[in-house]
């Protein structure tokens, strides 16, 4: 939609990223340059540090006890590349970073309020838009995730009455309403059935031109379907960065993964 994003430009440069909890290293010495070519999907065995890697991009790891980290992460946000690891940076407050780097979790985490409030509340607290603008934004994002037709008559109802797939799309809409540049998705379909998963995947493919999406996935099938690049992680390190042509052939990919695991 917006032609502002340049294809194949680096948008994230990571140097010597190291993260540990309670002295146990989870990510070790990651050096990586990610460029802009479609959805980036992280795969790897459980405990390989996928979620931690994702959370270091919006500094959410700092909310866990025993966190310590070092290294440098630069992200291309409006303006120029910015060093997001620098905690004392005055240019980019952590709350502003998290607004621009949105995140959706494994299980749909709706707030215990109405459907409309789920989107309205963060808008009110974080952006300071007025009521009319918020109303417009609400409709816009609900349409963007194809939820509008399903909920337009019951916006005042409790969001806990939606199905799992609907709740997850609501969470996605909630994040999109804040107009992020980057979207982090932590196994967004792990708790959904096949049909609802498929729906979310279609949605992500649709959104990939408007947002830089980085997703953790537990399914190779899903990764191949949506990814522009696949990042393979193992024991806290990046083992491979696979381009589209490298994983299009299923047999070749499986052979490669068999070697790694």
């Amino acid at each position: 939609m917006e032609p502002t994003r340049m294809k194949h430009q680096p948008f994230c440069i990571i140097k010597n990223l190291q993260v540990s909890f309670h002295g146990r290293t989870v990510l070790q010495k990651i050096n990586l340059t990610l460029s802009d070519s479609g959805i980036i999907v992280l795969v790897g065995p459980s405990g390989s540090g996928k979620t931690t890697f994702l959370r270091s991009l919006n500094r959410l790891n700092e909310h866990y006890p025993g966190y310590s980290g070092s290294g440098k992460i630069e992200l291309k946000l409006p303006g120029s590349m910015q060093d997001i690891q620098d905690i004392h940076s005055t240019d980019l407050e952590v709350t502003e970073l998290r607004r621009q780097v949105g995140m959706v979790f494994q299980t749909p985490n709706v707030l215990p309020v109405s459907i409309a409030q789920n989107i309205n509340l963060p808008l009110k607290l974080v952006t300071g838009l007025d009521k009319v603008e918020r109303e417009a934004r609400l409709i816009e994002v609900l349409q963007e995730v194809h939820l509008w037709d399903e909920v337009k008559d019951r916006l005042k109802e409790s969001s806990s009455r939606l199905s799992g797939g609907q709740q997850q799309r609501l969470c996605l809409a909630r994040v999109l309403a804040l107009k992020p540049k980057v979207l982090l998705l932590d196994e967004p379909t792990a708790s959904l059935d096949f049909k609802a998963s498929h729906r979310i995947e279609d949605l992500l493919i649709e959104l990939q031109d408007r947002y830089q999406i980085i997703a953790v996935s537990h399914s190779l099938r899903q990764a191949r379907r949506i990814a522009g690049q696949i990042l393979v992680m193992k024991e806290g390190q990046i083992e491979h960065l696979l381009k589209k042509e490298q994983f299009e052939d299923l047999e070749m990919l499986q052979k490669l993964l068999d070697e790694i695991f």
Binding site: N58, Y64, R98, F105, T107, N109, L111, P112, P122
Partner: protein, 293 residues
């Protein structure tokens, strides 16, 4: 030998359970049998006409009404004093306190929680002695003092239940706020507290029950047997649990003894209701979170 021991343990577990079951059953049925026939207008208002007694137009003698009103005021005041401080402290400990600071504060609150209620009453009594020796020679024990001491008694319960309700939220749920760019304050008030609300409410109800039943604190801080309706914050007052204690020790006539049974039953129903609803609030809370996975 080993088998004999096992059999002994097995028998003991049955004896203990059935024994306690029987004792509690006996206690409840005894109270019901003795107390139920006394429940009526007479128990609450004595000889006084009910409506005029309720509005305090006539003095009620030898009946429950002044003690009911006394307990109501006492509990309301104590809750009013303790709830804001208790919930604030619980929130701070769960969401803001730095680790080492939290450890010290929690330990001190635990010490307060362990303090016997008679010592809390003695503290109030000492405070009055202190006031008499210094600024106010006329200071005396009163409704306000008793309520303040009760507030201290229930304060730790409120802190613990608030803290536990907030800390039992799932890790992912706690991350919603930060992931949307909320500040910590915004996360706490708009995301965490609404979800922990029922747990906190059950803590409030529980501490109301605790305040309503405690006798030792108010004994030293202003309750007396025949005060009538409470005459303001600085007056003496009556209370249900104290009335039970007093009548058990000092009853003169069979009618007074009957009244004591009635009072015990009324208090039991009151605290039973409060504990029951606290438990129900807590249970539905657990259920809700279990369903959310």
């Amino acid at each position: 030998m080993n088998r004999l021991l096992n059999f002994g343990v097995y028998c003991w577990s049955w004896i203990a359970t059935l024994g306690v079951f029987l004792v509690v059953g006996l206690l409840l049925s005894y109270l019901l049998a003795q107390g139920l026939p006394t429940i009526g207008k007479e128990l609450f208002f004595g000889d006084a006409p009910a409506w005029e007694a309720i509005f305090g137009q006539v003095r009620v003698w030898d009946a429950l009404w002044p003690a009911c009103v006394g307990t109501l005021f006492l509990v309301l005041l104590a809750t009013l004093l303790a709830v804001p401080i208790g919930i604030s402290s619980g929130i701070y400990l769960a969401c803001f306190a730095p680790k080492s600071f939290k450890r010290v504060l929690s330990l001190l609150v635990e010490l307060l929680a362990g303090t016997p209620s008679i010592v809390m009453g003695l503290f109030g009594f000492a405070f009055i002695l202190f006031l008499r020796n210094t600024f106010f020679p006329d200071a005396n024990t009163s409704l306000l003092l008793a309520a303040a001491c009760l507030a201290l008694l229930i304060l730790p319960y409120l802190i613990f239940t608030t803290q536990a309700a907030l800390e039992s939220l799932s890790d992912e749920y706690r991350l919603i706020g930060p992931s949307l760019g909320f500040s910590q304050i915004q996360t706490v008030f708009h995301v965490l507290l609404p979800a922990a609300g029922r747990g906190i409410l059950s803590g409030v109800v529980l501490s109301i029950g605790r305040a309503a039943e405690d006798t030792a604190v108010i004994m030293l801080t202003g309750v007396i047997a025949n005060a009538g309706l409470p005459q303001g914050l600085f007056g003496k007052f009556e209370a249900l649990p104290f009335r039970i204690f007093y009548l058990a020790a000092e009853y003169q006539t069979p009618a007074e003894l009957d009244s004591a049974y009635g009072t015990a039953l009324v208090l039991l129903c009151l605290t039973g209701m409060l504990y029951g609803s606290a438990l129900a609030l807590h249970k539905t809370l657990e259920l809700r979170w279990n369903q959310h996975g």
